[in-house]
């Protein structure tokens, strides 16, 4: 084994460093994702939570290099997949790893399947793109995949069209397509949001099964803290394009640090407890064009905001072992001497 290959095996599966993704609105560039860094290891599930508009999906599209051309672009930062910087890859190289080594499940199973092709055709397309298979082999593999994701009568469903299936079934088809080439990394963008709870339970169980079998790394984007608690190892809380808190799932739920995380947890009704009044967060996420450039972006909605919150930008730093937070309430988040100004 050569030296480069050895280092490759040790590198984390996905490493995002200081990612900045901007969208141009009326000729000006605005950062939708602003300086995001994290890693995903093999066999781990990293959850990304936050309200709509906080940049979760843009971040995953940046990793997949699927940003809308001409509008969105990565301005800064590195995306290392399996130890390799993939931003320099051209379209052809990218197509080789996309779908094969890294795959994505989208939120809307209704809109992300092509209505005019059969289920089988769409799965076989993925297989043909990446492997040399005969038609018959591809067909057999598709049927296998469909039964692996728990679709009954797979041999028959393979010839049906997306509209003939229910929402849960379509999401299973999406998963079957995503795992067709046994990817190392799976990005699941709200995979269960459009589904009912009992179906959601089935899908989450299924993802967990596949993950342990293939030692796959998963990035799970969701706004449902319950889903995070049950399926993630590590959690990243995002607000307005920035990471505000990053830790393992247990300390996030037992001792959340950032006021935003705390409020978000207080605002969901719980099955186990009776709460008279839910916590609320006043206002809404600022729009891209009105994002404060200096200071904490949550300051105008934060009940614990101090005067300096609008002047000093809090840094995401480790506050306790493995628990990073970006909030001026914590000494660690204050900028280091000399960096100020």
């Amino acid at each position: 084994m050569s030296k480069s290959e050895q280092s490759k095996a040790k590198a984390p599966l996905l490493e995002v460093k200081g990612l900045e993704t901007s969208f141009s609105i009326e000729g000006k560039d605005y950062n939708a994702v602003d300086g995001v860094s994290f890693t995903v290891d093999r066999g781990k599930v990293v959850g990304i939570v936050g309200e709509s508009g906080c940049g979760k999906s843009v971040m995953s599209l940046s990793v997949m290099q699927l940003l809308p051309k001409g509008i969105g672009k990565i301005r800064n930062g590195e995306v290392l997949f399996d130890g390799e910087e993939i931003q320099s890859f051209n379209e052809k190289q990218m197509n080789q790893i996309r779908g094969k080594d890294m795959a994505m499940i989208f939120q809307e199973p209704m809109t992300s399947l092509n209505p005019v092709f059969t289920i089988g055709y769409q799965i076989e397309e993925v297989l043909h793109n990446h492997f040399k298979l005969s038609k018959k082999e591809a067909r057999n593999k598709s049927v296998q995949l469909l039964s692996a994701v728990g679709i009954p009568r797979a041999a028959k469903i393979v010839d049906e069209y997306p509209h003939q299936l229910s929402g849960g079934m379509r999401q299973r088809v999406m998963i079957a397509m995503a795992i067709a080439c046994q990817p190392k990394l799976l990005i699941a963008d709200e995979p269960t949001t459009a589904l009912d709870v009992t179906v959601q339970a089935q899908i989450l169980e299924l993802l967990k099964d596949i993950q342990t079998k293939n030692d796959m790394g998963i990035v799970l984007i969701t706004h449902d803290l319950g889903v995070v608690a049950e399926s993630c190892d590590e959690v990243i809380v995002m607000y307005a394009g920035k990471i505000v808190e990053k830790t393992d799932v247990e300390s996030l739920f037992t001792k959340p640090k950032h006021p935003y995380t705390k409020l978000m947890m207080g605002s969901i009704p719980r099955l186990e407890e009776d709460t008279e009044k839910l916590e609320t967060i006043k206002g809404i996420v600022p729009s891209l064009t009105k994002m404060p450039q200096v200071g904490c972006r949550f300051a105008n909605r934060c009940p614990k905001a101090m005067p300096e919150c609008t002047e000093i930008t809090p840094q995401l730093e480790e506050n306790e072992q493995g628990h990073e937070v970006a909030c001026l309430l914590y000494e660690t988040s204050h900028p280091k001497e000399g960096v100020l100004g």
Binding site: E51, S52, P152, S166, G167, G168, M169, D196, V197, T198, V199, Q200, A201, Q202, L204, E205, H223, D224, L225, G226, V227, V228, A229, E230, S231, V249, E250, F253, T254, L263, M264, M265, S267, I268, P269, R270, L271, E272, E273, T275, K277, L278, E279, T280, I281, I284
Partner: protein
């Protein structure tokens, strides 16, 4: 007709729904004959006391919205009866229906689609008042609307704005103000928060609770999210494939669910409260059957982990198994 007529028989129930059925015909063939029925609601029974919130919960396609719409008579039920404030409103029409609708209002799911984009918010909220009180003075009405906007937590200048100028949560507040305009007795809220972000969702839920106290409202709260329904309701009805399978107060539903479907539904909700304690999860197999061709006997028997042979032949009726807890399952016969 005033409601004081039958005072002797007056009960505490504001709404009684008895064996309500709503079947939609399926047309087909050359002559567009009826070739089948989608049994969206197939024999639903429940009641709501004055000042109470009854939650209706179930998966998509279980008929909870159709039930809400049939009560408001936006749909004409195929069978059964709806008794509102001691009046049978199942077959009333014309002026009587108009009078009743003043007392029952609805808050819709999609705050983006349920507000007219061409109308000022002031007009949207005052329209129900204009409709029922034709002689009301313009200024009086405006004052009333301003007060309503204030009550739901919107700024006064909202009156002159259009719906697109507001965020989802604020739009839902407009929808609530419109529903309140006629001071109804019953509000049917059909998934009022499912389109909203969690932080905004909690604002709207808190608002609904405050308004209930202030205006003495009774709610029929329809949602698919069990935690939300439990937070809002006093009692909960669980629906499956057009049937109510269990009705009980919210604590019994959560702590001691009796129907196998309720048990599975509750175990499926991912919960962040008891972190680290792994709960026993009942994962149901398969999909909800089509309401066009529902299974014989118990509608849940095809997916029920506790199904017995006779489940496919006997349709269980809703029975009081424990005080206040009604269950439709032959396990408890």
């Amino acid at each position: 007709m005033s409601i004081t007529e039958n005072k002797s028989t007056k009960t505490q129930n504001l709404l009684e729904v008895k064996d309500l059925k709503m079947h939609f015909p399926v047309k087909g063939g050359f002559f567009r004959r009826t070739i089948g029925n989608v049994k969206a609601v197939d024999g639903v029974t429940f009641d709501i006391k004055k000042g109470e919130t009854l939650g209706l919960v179930g998966e998509s396609g279980c008929g909870k919205s159709t039930t809400g719409r049939s009560i408001l008579r936006l749909l004409n039920p195929s069978a059964g009866s709806v008794i509102f404030d001691d009046q049978d409103i199942t077959n009333v029409n014309g002026k009587k229906l108009r009078d009743i609708r003043k007392d029952i209002q609805m808050v819709f799911q999609d705050p983006y689609a349920s507000l007219n984009p061409m109308q000022m918010v002031g007009n949207i909220v005052s329209e129900p008042i204009k409709n029922y009180y034709k002689n009301k003075k313009e200024e009086e009405m405006k004052e009333e609307v301003m007060e309503l906007l204030n009550k739901v937590g919107l700024p006064e200048d909202a009156y002159y704005k259009y719906a697109h100028e507001f965020s989802g949560g604020q739009r839902q507040r407009i929808g609530i103000a419109r529903a309140l305009a006629l001071r109804p007795k019953l509000i049917i809220a059909d998934e009022p928060v499912s389109a909203l972000d969690v932080s905004v969702q909690s604002q709207v839920l808190n608002l609904l609770n405050e308004l209930q106290d202030e205006f003495d409202l009774t709610y029929l709260f329809i949602a698919h999210d069990l935690s939300v329904v439990k937070h809002m309701s006093d009692r909960i009805g669980v629906m499956y494939l057009g049937n109510v399978v269990e009705v009980a107060d919210k604590h019994s539903i959560y702590k001691d669910p009796l129907h196998p479907y309720t048990q599975a539904l509750i175990s499926a909700v991912p919960d962040a409260s008891n972190f680290g304690q792994k709960r026993e999860r009942i994962v149901l197999q398969g999909d909800v059957p089509s309401p066009e061709n529902p299974p014989s006997g118990c509608p849940f028997h095809t997916r029920c982990p506790k199904a017995m042979d006779k489940c496919s032949s006997i349709k269980p009726q809703l029975k009081e198994v424990k005080p206040g807890q009604h269950v439709a399952c032959i396990l408890y016969d």
